[in-house]
């Protein structure tokens, strides 16, 4: 029986602006097991990103409990939460969120800085991560804006995995990419998953979602369904 890595119990997120109350999540319960690759799908404003932010400890629930590796997150201090994010979680964003003034190398090694790892070791690990993400070492001295969108996303993936996290959270990682780049990114995720990473990915694209092992459907802040992906319709196998 695989271990439960991420557990959400009746998680509610309420946004209040003056008298206006908006529900981001309405009692979401979810279990993601070690080594799983899941997709979260739903229309815009359904709460996909809010759910991913909860899992990634970027936001706090209004009520409910979140467990990461069996530890209830609400009992952790802000510093401990930052440490969990740094050691256990890697983020990939739709718009890459690379720091454009820094080189590719400096971007990739960024998560290793809070750990106080010496520069030579960081450089080695950044190179390994970039190669694993399907990138090329010739990109290292370049600035992100000198690369294509697909290349930038591979750099962002390298940054997410450089710290060897057990969980990768991706928010629409292919939403801003062409089809060829989308395939490369998904292939990279499948390779990382094969190596043991637990991956949760928000996507609009059914062909991307079909490459995962489980698809959660979210609507109006609630998980309304879970379905098995149709592997034959994975972006890797379609024209």
């Amino acid at each position: 029986m695989p271990r439960e890595v991420i557990v959400l119990e009746d998680v509610v997120k309420v946004y209040r602006v003056g008298d206006i109350v908006t529900y981001g999540l309405r009692g979401v319960s979810l279990k993601i097991y070690e080594g799983e690759f899941i997709a979260i799908m739903g229309p815009s404003g359904s709460g996909k990103t809010t759910l991913l932010n909860m899992i990634g400890l970027l936001d706090k629930p209004s009520s409910g409990r979140i467990y990461i590796d069996g530890v209830e997150v609400s009992k952790l201090s802000a510093r401990e939460i930052a440490r969990v994010r740094n050691l256990k979680i890697g983020f990939v964003f739709q718009f890459f969120n690379l720091i454009n003034r820094l080189t590719v190398l400096e971007n990739i090694e960024m998560p290793l800085i809070p750990r106080g790892i010496p520069r030579p070791e960081r450089v080695e690990r950044a190179k390994e991560a970039l190669l694993l993400a399907g990138g090329e070492l010739s990109w290292l001295p370049k600035k992100p804006l000198q690369l294509s969108g697909g290349q930038q996303q591979r750099v962002a993936i390298a940054r997410a995995i450089v710290g060897n996290p057990s969980i990768i959270l991706a928010d629409e990682p292919t939403g801003n990419l062409d089809r060829a780049s989308t395939k490369t990114v998904i292939q990279t995720f499948l390779e990382l998953n094969k190596r043991g990473a637990t991956i949760a990915m928000v996507t609009h694209d059914p062909e991307v979602a079909n490459c995962t092992q489980k698809i959660y459907i979210i609507r109006d802040g609630m998980i309304v369904g879970v379905r098995e992906p149709d592997k034959s319709r994975c972006v890797l196998y379609t024209q």
């Binding site: 970027l58 510093r79 983020f91 969120n97 720091i99 106080g116």
Partner: protein, 408 residues
């Protein structure tokens, strides 16, 4: 080791962040530089001149006291004898003094003329030496020992030599009337250049034997009495006795007390210049804060990314704060360097000591640049970075990561 690595990394990231906004950072750095520039430049010049003045005053005799009669009093032989009888008084000599004009080459120079037993001057002022000639005796009252800057002009060309006659023009008050008088004095000796101080500058002084006061200058009353004490430790005791003896009939001044007063004045000037510099530092704090707030707002999304990558709130705070400190250090280095250069330029101009409209002497002193002064400027400049950066850095550290990542 990890902490050192951390600081080094944040320092490097700060430099990168600042180079992305070169113009803004440069303008802020210029704003920061003004504080240390002003502080180092003004303080070191004041300290340099202060030390110079103090050393000159002290060089005039730590054990010397001068008595000047008040307007309704005149010193008598009885007073002189009473002073000479006081314990610890080594010598007491009367003197006549006036200010006068002499021609030195093409210039008219204001000089001091003292008629005094000249040997007492040598006894009081250590380091005073004769360049050429000799000290005239009391019977040679038409002869004088003149200061170096009377015999030589500003370009160091000798204008007067031994045996030459100097025409001295001065104003004499008698019976409420003032009249312009002239006297001709023959040069018996020329003093070596001394450097001079405020109210007794040997370089611009003509020393005559005591009888010349009456016979050459036509003065009837002593201008004062010059007292030498056995040792500087007895100066205050003797001054106290002189005060009891003369009450309000005479002003009693010691070079030691003048040095103390000068020290107080220099201290006050330093405080004023320090306070003025602080206003420049305060403006710099506002400048750093404005720059950092703008920077934090512009980089809100980036701060969200850093938090998503695992940077803790204190780490974000230190990183942003470091940018303010780095700007301060650069501004401080520029300001202090320019301050040192400026201090040398300012000090090299010297300042003139004037009597009426005439420059009596130009005093030049090197600025006093000390490690403590530089340390103070560096400390204040770093404080500017910390104070200016702390609020924006705190604000950045407290932005919830999910909110920061949504920021457009």
């Amino acid at each position: 080791m990890a902490a050192l690595q951390f600081i080094f990394d944040f320092f490097r990231l700060s430099i990168k962040a600042l180079t992305e906004r070169k113009t803004r950072a440069l303008l802020t750095i210029i704003g920061i530089a003004i504080g240390p520039l002003a502080l180092v430049m003004i303080s070191s010049v004041i300290d340099g001149y202060g030390d110079y003045v103090i050393s000159q005053i002290e060089g005039l005799g730590q054990n010397a006291i001068v008595l000047f009669p008040e307007s309704n009093y005149r010193f008598t032989q009885k007073d002189l004898d009473a002073i000479r009888a006081l314990p610890h008084v080594k010598r007491a000599e009367p003197f006549y003094s006036i200010q006068a004009q002499v021609r030195v080459g093409t210039q008219t120079r204001m000089v001091f003329v003292y008629a005094i037993p000249i040997d007492v001057v040598f006894e009081a002022i250590k380091g005073l030496e004769i360049y050429k000639g000799y000290t005239p005796s009391d019977t040679e009252y038409l002869k004088a020992l003149v200061g170096y800057k009377i015999a030589f002009d500003d370009n160091n060309n000798q204008v007067y030599d031994l045996g030459d006659v100097i025409s001295v023009t001065y104003i004499r008050s008698s019976g409420g009337k003032q009249e312009i008088k002239k006297a001709s004095i023959s040069i018996a000796g020329i003093l070596k250049e001394f450097g001079g101080a405020f109210f007794l500058s040997p370089d611009t002084t003509i020393f005559l034997p005591l009888p010349a006061g009456q016979r050459v200058l036509g003065l009837s009353d002593w201008s004062g009495i010059f007292v030498l004490v056995d040792s500087s430790t007895y100066v205050s005791d003797v001054m106290e006795q002189l005060r009891q003896m003369f009450g309000s009939s005479a002003s009693i001044i010691s070079f030691q007390s003048i040095a103390n007063i000068a020290n107080s004045i220099i201290g006050a000037m330093n405080f004023i210049s320090f306070s003025a510099s602080l206003s420049a530092f305060a403006v710099a704090v506002a400048g750093v804060a404005a720059t950092m707030i703008t920077s934090v707002v512009e980089r809100t999304r980036e701060i969200g990314v850093l938090k998503a990558l695992g940077f803790s709130d204190p780490q974000v705070l230190i990183m942003i704060l470091m940018e303010g400190v780095v700007m301060s250090l650069i501004g401080g280095a520029i300001g202090i360097s320019l301050g040192i250069v400026g201090a040398h330029i300012l000090a090299s101009r010297g300042f003139e000591i004037r009597a009426a409209t005439q420059a009596v002497m130009v005093v030049k002193a090197s600025p006093k640049i000390t490690a403590m002064g530089i340390g103070r400027a560096v400390g204040l400049t770093v404080l500017v970075g910390v104070l200016g950066g702390i609020f924006p850095a705190y604000r950045a550290s407290k932005i919830p990561p999910a909110v920061a990542l949504r920021y457009e």
